[in-house]
Structure formats: structure tokens, C-alpha cells
Amino acid sequence: MNVTVKSFATFREVMDRQLTLDIPEGSTIRTLLAELNGRYNGLNELMFATMDTLKDFVNILKNGRNIHFLAGLDTPLDDGDLVALFPPVAGG
């Protein structure tokens, strides 16, 4: 199945701003990020505090909904999903 990944702000300094990946059925945000970390040097350090914990203020959206309010890193992915990766950002 295909999912589209978009990156923003400092994540763009280490990865493509948009790509579509063909990933296996049953994939989750966790397995998707593992795939991305294998492709892009430096992404893991920007994104993860520990193997299981995202850094403070990193936000990941699946189809516009923060995965924190879904199943976190275990949020399942479906064909056609859009995943947006945000490093810490703010403004106002």
C-alpha cells in the first residue's frame, strides 16, 4: 500500500519534503518511521529522545490528526494515508 509523507521545518534539512512510500499491509507509524530513519541520516536524532519516545514537541499527524490522540507510534496506517512530520515549532 502507498502512504505519502510530508516533512516540515528542520526535518527538511535531512529528508525529502514529500515522498510516497510503498509499505507492507499492517504498517504503523512506528514501522514507517523506522523505514524513514533507514533512508535519511540524522532524522532519528532529530525525532526521537529514546527508541520509544518522540522528542518533546515533535508532532506527527495522520490525515491531520495528531497520533498522540490515536494510538501513538502504534497508530495503524492504511492505503492513501498522509503522514505529516513536524519538529518543534511555534509562533503566534
Binding site: 516540515f8 495528531n66 519538529p87 515549532v89 511555534a90
Partner: protein
Amino acid sequence: MDGYAGKMAFVDLTKGKVTIKPTPEDLKRLYLGGRGFGARIVSDRVDPKTDALSPENVIVFAAGPLTGTGIPLGSRYEVTTKAPLNDTLTSANSGGVFGWKMKKAGFDAVVISGRSPKPVFLFLNEGTAEVRDGTQYWGMRTSETTAALKRDLEDKNVRVACIGPAGEKKSRLACIINEEHRAAGRGGTGAVLGSKNVKALAATGDLPIKPADEEKLNAVKERVRKKIEENGIEKALHSYGTAVLINIINENGVLPTRNFQRGYFPQAEKISGETMAQTILTKPKGCYACIVQCGRVTKAGDEEGEGPEYEPDWAFGADCGIDDLPAIARANYRCNDLGLDAIGTATAIACAMEMTEKGYLDNGIGFGDTEKMLKLVEDIGYRRLLGAELADGSFRFAVKHGHPELSMSVKKQDLPAYDPRGIQGYGLAVATSVRGGDHVYGYMISPEILGAPEKLDPYTSEGKDQWVKTFQDLTASIDASGMCLFTSFALGADDYADLIAATTGMAMTAPDLLQIGERIWNLQKLFNLKVGYTKADDTLPDRLLKEPLQDGAPKGRVWERQPLLDNYYTVRGWDSEGRPTPEKLKELGLM
């Protein structure tokens, strides 16, 4: 030796008289400075029923005890007055260097009342304050005024806060600009100066600003510096400016588009902070003592200036259906030079665009019409043609044309760049804001979208009443302290309390600090109740309660006013009509 400059200047323009008094100890203790000083003084001196543009209104420029002390991001000053835009007891906050210079000139606050018979400027210099002839500057734009005053005063260190043509023409969207690009933006503060025939304040001097306990302050300074430097959010602000929010707000489906008709702008990437960094950005820029430097020096075609920040970027961009970033930057430069609130100006134009789209306005302006938008900004600044009608904001414009529902405002002040339909707690913060539509009186976007200090589900209401109260009170106290609100992404109430204690010598804990904020909030609320605002005004535009969002994850959602509002009144210690109870007022020392 307490961080304060120690004096306040009271300027009676009608009599042409200046009185200088010591800054009262109880005012420091109960209201801290900045917004707190302003709220207390305006509340004491202005009848809530007074016409905001009459000589009886008072306008207060006030710094905080942490302003100009060398604490990172301790640069802010506050302008407080009865707002011409919506009659609330409003305050507008600005950075840059002016607040520091006002204290170096010897003043914690300048309190201006009456009306001068002719244009003047106020010259603050080493403990003196004079009213000087300003006739020669009347008619100038803010950049011209600033340059002319520096030249005429023969002092390159002088710092200027001034109005432009919009303030002179008493536009209710007029702001006050310092150092050409920093704005005390909202509520129409510039019109109050214009109504008093005050073109500018110019401050210079090098009087000492000494903390009570320098050693202790240095230790706290280092602690907060480290927290700010290590905070990922502050790093993003440096690299991409505040407009880095465009994409994350859009991807969440809450970037108001075409006058809040949609919550998703398909061309958002073209106006994003990331695009800005790759195209029009020349360099980042900071205010006094800033280690973040979220300001943007930019070049758009043959024009140079600062910005746009996130808010005007959104307002002239997504809200007006425009994806031309250089044009948005030029519109922002014009607002600064004309002395216009860039948010209110752009959202008034967006309102006119929807009126035009719906056929309610002949010879109007269509969404996405960049060239007409740029011309209209000038016309608003000079009150010309359609701009004359828009110069008092979207609310009056929409009412005049028989469609008040198309003004996306709360208490006549336009909403900022987030759609409350997908952010319930933020909706409550805006509906109850004591200065009307606003994002800096309790920034619930931080927990509900950005995840700081923790992630709150933006779609739910539970517990948001207490969160909103805490954010509103903490913000009021930060505004009183003289610190930049952006420090709150990295610092907590304990940090501010420690900074204040070391600087002022006052005993200060986090609960003390929050109570100062609560006192300020309630004082502003009491004034607004006397103006005539009621529970019915603690709401959002009908569109946001009745027309569901159409895109993305929040599709189908509206803002749900109850039980949020009643719960909020309860946690505030107010009655069911949103009035502070006698018990609450006694607790805060307000009766």
C-alpha cells in the same frame, strides 16, 4: 535598586503640563508593571462610558521591572488604554528597543491625558519629560517620522514610538510603531494618540537599571538562558520565524481561509516560513537582549522591510486567498509605515472580499486580487474610497453593509489565525478574552496544537476551563513583567517568579505571580462590564458555532460554547452571568 526606573511621567496635554512622580510601591507590588500598571491607571482615571477618542481617555506606555535588565527576551513594553476599536480596557504589547530606552530615559511609565491644541511629540531624556512641537512631523509615515526625529534631536541613540497617517486620521485599526517595524498593534491605540495630537514619543538617556540582587539575578538569568537555548521550539523560531506555523496549522485543518469559510489553504506552502527562509528572507533579527531572533528582515522586489510575521502572513495570505509571499510582505511593510494593525487591516479586507463574492458589495475586491489589496491597504491608511469604510475595522464595515455575520470578530476585534472550530480550548480563550478577538491573551494553541507544555486534545472540552484561566492569568503577569511571551514555550511560572524576585527584591512565588495576572484580568473584566459587555458577548461569530468545517481531520466540527463557558466562569470565581463575585474581588484586593 529594584529593576524599576523609579519614576512615572504624567502628561496633561490640555494644560501642557508634565508632572513626574515616583513609581508607587503598592503599584509595583500589586500590578508589577507593563500591562498591570496600565490596567490599574486606566481603570482609575477613565470612565468606562468615555468616548475612547475624547480628551478624557488616558493612554499609558509602561515597561516592566524585567524590561531592559539584560534578561534574555526582557524587552517588552505595553500600551494600555480604552480601545477605540471596541471600548474594552485593552493593551497592546511591543518589543524592539523602545521599552528599554524608556527606562534608560528614567521612566517606568508615561501616562498621557487630555488633548493638545496642536501636534506635539513627547521627549523623554535622562529623567525629564517635555511636550515639544510636532507640527513638522504631522502627515509623515512612521519611517519618515522616526528618521526625522533622530535627525532633529541630533541623537542616533534616540528611540521613537510613533503613529503614521492612520493614527492621525483616527483609524480604529491604527497602531503604534517603534523602531519602524515593531507594533503595539491591536485595538486602535494609534487612534488614541492621534486624537490627542501626539505624533510620537522619543526616548533617550543612559540612566542605570539596577536589580536588587545582581548575583542572584545572574544565576537565574543563566538558568533561563540555558532553557531557552535548549528548547527546540525557540530554535525553530530563529530558523523559520513565526510563519513556521503556517504549515502545521494548515495540516491540522485550522488555518482560516477566505474569511474563515474554510480551514485549509491548498497553497499554504507558498506562504510558509520554510518558503520565506528560501526566498525573501535576508536575515533574522531580534529585539533588545533577544537570543531567539524570530524577527525577519526581508526583501520583496525592490522593497525592504521586516516581516511578515505569522499573523499578517496568514491574514493577507490564506484569509484573503492570496499566495504571493512577496506581495504579502509588501502589504505588511505598508501597514508598518502607515501605522496600521496588519491583522485587523487584512481581515477587514478579507471581509470585504467575501461581501464582494456574495454580491453584497459593488465595486469591491475579490479573493486573491493582490494588486487591489495592496492599493486598498494604502487607502485604509489614508481613509480614501473603500478604505475609508474599512479603516474602522470589519465589524463596523459589515454592520454598515447589513451583514454583521461576515465580520469574523469577537467584541468587534477580528480573530487571529486559527479556526476555533477545530480547537475548543482556544475558542474559549478567544470568546472570553478581555480585549476581544486575540491570540496573545492566553495562547491555547500551545498545548492544543503544538504540544507544549503537554499535548491536549484540541477536539475536547474537558479541563480546558482551568487551562484557559491559567494561560490567561500567566500571560497577564508575563505582560506585566516586561518579558516576551515567547519565553513561555521554554519557561514556567517558577522561572518568571525567580527572575522578578531577584530583580525587584520582592518576595515572589509562582502562585503570587499568577495572582497578579488574575488581578489584572479581573480589573480589565470589571471595566468591560461597566462598558456594557455581557455574557452574550463571550462568544464567537455565528459561523464558527453553526457552519461545520469542511476539510481534513476536524471536518464536521463547530465550536461548542457550552458547557465550556459556564465551567470557565465557575473556575474564575464569577457568577453565572460572568461577573466577578464579591468574594473573588475581595480575594484579589479589588474591593
